[in-house]
């Protein structure tokens, strides 16, 4: 019997329904099984505490992986004798210590601060083959959407849900609406996955995806590497979407194969068979469809304090009165005041003092290669006071060093750091000083995100590198021509 055509989202959802809360309500809340749970130090202490207080255990410690990332300093963590260098901030130290204690107590595999595999959870999960196509993946962190780049249903959860998953390996969820964002055509030279998703942020605005799971489709998406797909899906949450999804294909399978926790042997063959079925059926209906022409996308940059505040690098700072929505006019005025920008200013005229290459959006090897390709043989401008590269994981760092990328960065005047979240949100000492600007490859330009008073311009790694050289926001395509 031919079954009803289904979207990719519906297929993954259907495969994970433990039970419907109301058996007669096919659109109602379900108890959904969770295949993979990533845990970091910021959103887990209260969950473990609650388990302890109630005398509860972790149902499936084998489906859980704990990695510290947010608070870790990106400077050396061990001295030459191998002893831990104490963390200056007592609160950061306390959170890290809590995870280091909780993981073994509850039987959870823990990748520690000095392990070669340590890194940002969203970089470590795919890299270790822990995150897999078709899996349901959660983490107490909104950028869990990232793993959707592998074709996994991945989303951020709060601490009470972290506790719920630890105790039951399930979540109570209502099905989301589905949206297709179709990007057809090819990206031009100098235009990357980050520019693509920033462009989408501008089209969908900050809340255009609320209530939806977005499936990114079209030739421009299929042409992306897995790294690029992770970058795109990572920012699904910046349009308010519950999750992002990209159908797994041969590119995905080649990426997953051979990773430490990936299936092997007969398991691998069985996995591939199922993964190949994970595409949206012809005739399946999305609740909403948005189409974008890849030819319209150029290197993109933000001017304001929401990821939706995107303009082409060739553009200018917008005038608030040109927004149709009066409340957006008001928000734009506030943003411009905070950002210290004047309408009409060309984006490429904006001087920057800091450059941050890192975060779960753009800290994988391909990102570092793209930045290094621009920096090779060049130096950062004298007015860029602070430029750092923070690899997404210890393995990315080692790979980059094997390729000599660290030398390119150091010769260009960048600092080469240990893996972690770093200046993406400044929970560790890496912060952008008040009033200063940063060309940043991270995902959020919120007020104070990179430190109190910091001014963030979201860009791709290539644009960040070009901007470091120019000392102002720069069009990487111009630099290529020099």
């Amino acid at each position: 019997m031919a079954s009803r055509p289904r979207t990719l989202y519906e297929k993954i959802w259907d495969a994970h329904v433990v039970e419907r809360r109301d058996a007669n309500d096919s659109r109602g809340t379900c108890l959904i099984y969770i295949d993979r749970h990533l845990v970091h130090e910021v959103t887990s202490p209260q969950a473990f505490e609650a388990l302890r207080a109630a005398g509860r255990t972790v149902r499936r410690p084998d489906l859980t992986l704990a990695v510290p990332d947010h608070n870790l300093p990106t400077t050396a963590r061990r001295d030459s004798a191998g002893a831990r260098i104490p963390i200056a901030d007592p609160e950061s130290a306390q959170q890290l210590a809590a995870l280091e204690r909780n993981a073994p107590e509850f039987g959870i595999r823990y990748i520690g601060d000095a392990d070669a595999q340590q890194g940002i959870v969203h970089v470590v999960g795919p890299e270790q083959g822990f995150s897999l196509p078709g899996a349901t993946i959660v983490c107490g962190d909104s950028h869990t959407a990232c793993h959707g780049g592998l074709g996994a249903l991945a989303f951020g959860i709060g601490t009470s849900e972290v506790e719920h998953v630890l105790a039951t390996q399930t979540l109570l969820l209502a099905p989301a609406k589905t949206m297709e964002v179709r990007v057809e055509g090819s990206l031009g030279p100098g235009v990357t996955a980050k520019d693509l998703v920033l462009h989408i942020c501008g089209v969908l605005r900050a809340s255009g995806g609320t209530g939806y799971v977005i499936e990114y489709t079209g030739s421009a998406i299929r042409d992306l590497s897995v790294e690029g797909r992770l970058t795109v899906s990572n920012m699904a949450i910046e349009h308010g979407a519950r999750a992002g999804l990209i159908a797994p294909d041969d590119t995905t399978f080649a990426y997953v194969k051979g990773r430490p926790y990936a299936p092997r042997g007969a398991d691998w063959d069985a996995a591939i068979t199922w993964w190949r079925s994970l595409t949206t059926d012809p005739g399946a209906r999305y609740d909403k469809v948005v189409t974008i022409d890849a030819a319209d996308i150029v290197p993109s940059v933000t001017w304001g304090t929401s990821p939706e505040d995107v303009v082409p690098i060739t553009g200018t700072v917008p005038a608030p009165e040109n927004f149709a929505d009066p409340s957006k006019q008001d928000a734009a005025r506030k943003s411009l005041e905070y950002m210290g920008l004047v309408p009409g200013e060309p984006m490429t005229g904006i001087a920057i003092q800091n450059v941050f290459i890192g975060s779960c959006t753009n800290s994988r090897i391909e990102d570092l290669r793209a930045a290094a390709a621009v920096l090779n043989g060049r130096r950062k401008s004298a007015n860029v006071k602070w430029a750092i590269v923070v690899p997404g994981s210890g393995l990315v760092k080692a790979q980059a060093e094997a390729e000599g990328l660290d030398r390119v960065f150091i010769d260009a005047g960048f600092e080469w750091r240990e893996p972690g979240c770093s200046a993406c949100l400044g929970m560790n000492p890496d912060k952008v000083p008040p009033g200063e600007r940063c060309a940043s490859t991270s995902n959020r330009n919120f007020v104070g995100r990179q430190g109190p008073g910091s001014r963030t311009h979201l860009v791709s790694p290539a644009t960040a590198a070009a901007s470091a050289v120019a000392g102002r926001l720069a069009d990487v395509r111009e630099l290529d021509r020099q």
């Binding site: 202490p45 609650a50 959170q95 822990f130 909104s142 009470s160 039951t168 299936p263």
Partner: protein
Amino acid sequence: MEPLREVSGRAIPFGRKNIDTDVIIPAKWLKTITRDGLGRGAFETLREDPGNLFDSPEFAGSPILIAGDNFGCGSSREHAAWALLDLGVRAVIAPSFSDIFSGNAFKNGIVTVVLPQTAIDRLMEVAQTDPVSIDLESQTVTTPFQDRFTFEIDPFRKHCLLEGLDEVGLTLARGDAIARYENDAKAALPWLAKGVEHA
């Protein structure tokens, strides 16, 4: 969790759109390992303004917050809900909420009430001088001036809030169904059931 049937009192006429979780509770407050005391960090940057609503004698400690579209967007930090709770807020009324925030709020016994902008505008006006009342059982928001707005809420969430039920406890009671699923999945997708055992 304490049962919640009704939230009545002064409502903070805040009204701003796209309030993200960094505004509700800045990142530096995320370093705590407990749930308590976060009210001090709630809306910290806005409260640097001496005339802010949250510290005004009239609105400090109000159980209801009225906000604009897309309240609680941004990160998944449950600290946002804990911070509101610590301020004394038990209900937020807005035209829309981020999915994660409303889930977090619910799990901490805060009800998120979605009303159209016209209703919000009216409530913002009333809240300047008079109390607002939310009745969960009848799903209505009322004012002393005969205003009456009804809202939708997921029946399960409503039930849990009314009874003060602990979701983890409820799901643990479904342990048999979960075990049955695990058995089936082990047969159908054996590799997926292996997790860190693959290495």
